[in-house]
């Protein structure tokens, strides 16, 4: 991805922060710096033995000391090394005249290493120590109890400190300079530009989402077209036989012997069966014809009242009361009045069937605010200027099983007893609402029962409006 100015500034800031941290951490690294220093030192001996440190290479985990000097007379040939520090090892070689000792391993301050002859006498001892600004390493050369001499390596760290100070000053200057520059960078503007770029990315993602939604709608529309053609064909082919059965029932009813209850019951069952078959065909036709047919300013409260009036007989039979909480006045919205009436009839019927008998349906309307980018997600929130209307139809039934939130809108999905519904009512309702550019969701209430929420945007063009006009 291309780096943007805002990202670069943020990157430089991090570098400045790192430089500041280095300034703080530098003193802590003195020991490490000192240990990689190549030192040189002179060996001073007392009398009989002379030695000179000719090579000294110390790395972090490795020390290599080489001593070369006159061989002391009393020094036994066989000398073994005893290394007190576990990381150390020692090799000793004695030439005819020279002492040549090599100590391998890490030589750290406060550690001691010894060279011991085969009689147990310490021939040489190496001590690492740090005192103040100096590092002192000493190695006395012994024969028996007598100290032959001592290697003293005293390293003044001032020059190292000087270098370190220079690095510290450079880091400080770098950090200060960066902050000085960064203080003058119009970060807000950069941030705005950054925010704009992010907004553009979000917009393109939203566009993609919308495109996908539109594609899904088109797929839905294609499916509905197919269902529509199928339904029309089925309707024609099935309704004619149904007409024959119904007219035949009418004829048989007239011919039936008066008072024959069994005869009457069979005829009633047949009539009911024809009615059910007819309802399924009717709903199937409706399901496939849910495009918005016309648009006019609508009063949702009036449509809802009309739906309640048309379903009143059903509600009365089931002894179901209606509780209204309708916002007055409610803004008008453009839509197809007949189709939305069908939505509310279906939802009220669905609520009544869920209750079965003896219960309460609550019907409410209110202005709502729907996030413009998220209409498809049905995000409804309080506040700001209302841009939608929310209609809620609740019931005191048992609610629907968990996990059925989406399946409940599938055609022919039903949780009701056979004959109670065709399984198309909610599917039809959701299609109609969807073609109006709105959302229909069904949620279980915490206190029991379920509520259907229809959210319709005000004064907007539905996704299929152009399609409908064409």
């Amino acid at each position: 991805m291309k780096e943007r100015p805002y990202d670069i500034v943020i990157y430089i800031r991090r570098v400045a922060l790192l430089a500041s941290a280095l300034v703080i951490l530098l003193p802590a690294s003195f020991y490490a710096l000192l240990e990689v220093k190549v030192l040189g030192a002179q060996l001073e001996t007392e009398g009989r033995a002379k030695a000179i440190l000719v090579e000294n290479h110390v790395a972090r985990n490795d020390a290599h000391w080489q001593l070369r000097g006159s061989r002391p007379d009393a020094l036994n040939d066989a000398v073994r090394a005893e290394v007190l520090h576990p990381a150390q090892a020692c090799e000793m070689n004695f030439d005819q005249d020279d002492l040549h000792a090599t100590l391998l391993g890490e030589v750290l301050p406060h550690t001691t290493s010894r060279l011991i002859d085969n009689q147990g006498a310490v021939v040489a001892e190496f001590i690492g120590d740090v005192r103040g600004w100096t590092i002192q390493r000493s190695m006395p050369i012994r024969v028996g109890d007598a100290v032959l001499g001592r290697i003293e390596i005293i390293d003044d760290i001032n020059h190292i400190l000087g270098t370190s100070l220079l690095i510290m000053i450079a880091c400080s200057l770098l950090a200060t300079g960066m902050y000085w520059i960064l203080d003058r960078v119009p970060l807000a503007a950069l941030h705005d530009s950054h925010a704009r770029e992010r907004a553009e990315i979000k917009r393109s993602l939203d566009m993609e989402l919308k495109l996908r939604t539109a594609q899904e709608r088109l797929a839905d529309a294609d499916r509905l077209e197919s269902v529509g053609r199928l339904a029309a064909g089925v309707a024609h082919e099935v309704k004619n036989p149904l007409a024959i059965i119904r007219l035949g029932l009418d004829y048989l009813t007239r011919q039936a012997p008066a008072g024959d209850e069994i005869h009457e019951a069979v005829l009633t069952d047949l009539r009911d069966a024809v009615g059910r078959a007819d309802r399924i065909i009717k709903d199937l036709l409706h399901y496939s014809r849910t495009r918005v047919q016309s648009r006019a300013p609508l009063d949702m409260n009036a449509i809802l009242e009309n739906a309640l009036r048309l379903t009143r007989h059903n509600l009365d039979l089931r002894r179901i009361g209606v509780q209204r909480r309708l916002q007055e006045p409610l803004p008008t919205l453009n839509g197809d009045g007949e189709q939305l009436l069908q939505v509310f009839i279906n939802l009220i019927d669905n609520a009544a069937q869920a209750i079965d008998h003896d219960g309460q349906i609550s019907v409410s309307t209110r202005s709502a605010w729907v996030a413009t980018e998220s209409v498809a997600d049905g995000m409804v929130a309080e506040g700001d200027t209302a841009n939608a209307i929310e209609v809620a139809i609740g019931d005191t039934g048992p609610g629907f099983p968990d996990g059925d939130e989406d399946r409940i809108f599938d055609p022919f999905f039903t949780t009701k007893a056979a004959g109670e519904g065709t399984g198309l009512g909610l599917a039809v309702a959701r299609n109609i609402v969807s073609w109006h550019g709105g959302t229909l969701t069904l949620r279980n209430n915490p206190e029991g029962g379920a509520t259907a929420f229809v959210t319709l945007k005000l004064a907007t063009e539905s996704p299929n409006e152009a399609d409908t006009r064409s």
Binding site: H236, A243, L285
Partner: protein
């Protein structure tokens, strides 16, 4: 006695409508299952009202209605359409085709009788 011409390509439907209307009393019913013979049947039978199925293999009921309207001797015949395509709700809402009543199948005899009465009463008030 009102004369009713019933036209549908389904012979069972025309037969049962005839049986039911005549059993109800006050109607003389003639049935026709061939769209091509409807105009001739109308001229011969001289019905007060024609019940026309819309979707028939040979012709649409609406086309036959137009032919009846075009013929000065048949123009007075009231028309009720029967259809298997329209939804019940649409017909209940008083939808009409070419100003004529339309009934959705499966229709009941009571619905038929009510529609026939309505159509003929309109004829009476118009005359």
């Amino acid at each position: 006695m009102k004369r009713i011409l019933v036209v549908d390509d389904e012979a069972a439907i025309t037969r049962l409508i005839k049986l039911n209307l005549e059993a109800a009393g006050g109607y003389l019913v003639f049935t026709e299952n061939k769209a091509s013979r409807v105009i001739d049947a109308a001229r011969t039978f001289k019905p007060d009202l024609a019940l026309l199925d819309i979707m028939m293999p040979e012709a649409l009921g609406t086309d036959i209605a137009a032919q009846l309207q075009d013929d000065p001797r048949l123009r007075h015949i009231k028309i009720i359409f029967l259809t298997a395509i329209a939804r019940k709700g649409e017909t209940d809402a008083g939808h009409r085709v070419g100003g004529q009543l339309i009934l959705a199948k499966p229709v009941t005899t009571d619905e038929l009788l009510a529609a026939i009465d309505t159509a003929l009463a309109a004829d009476k008030s118009a005359s």
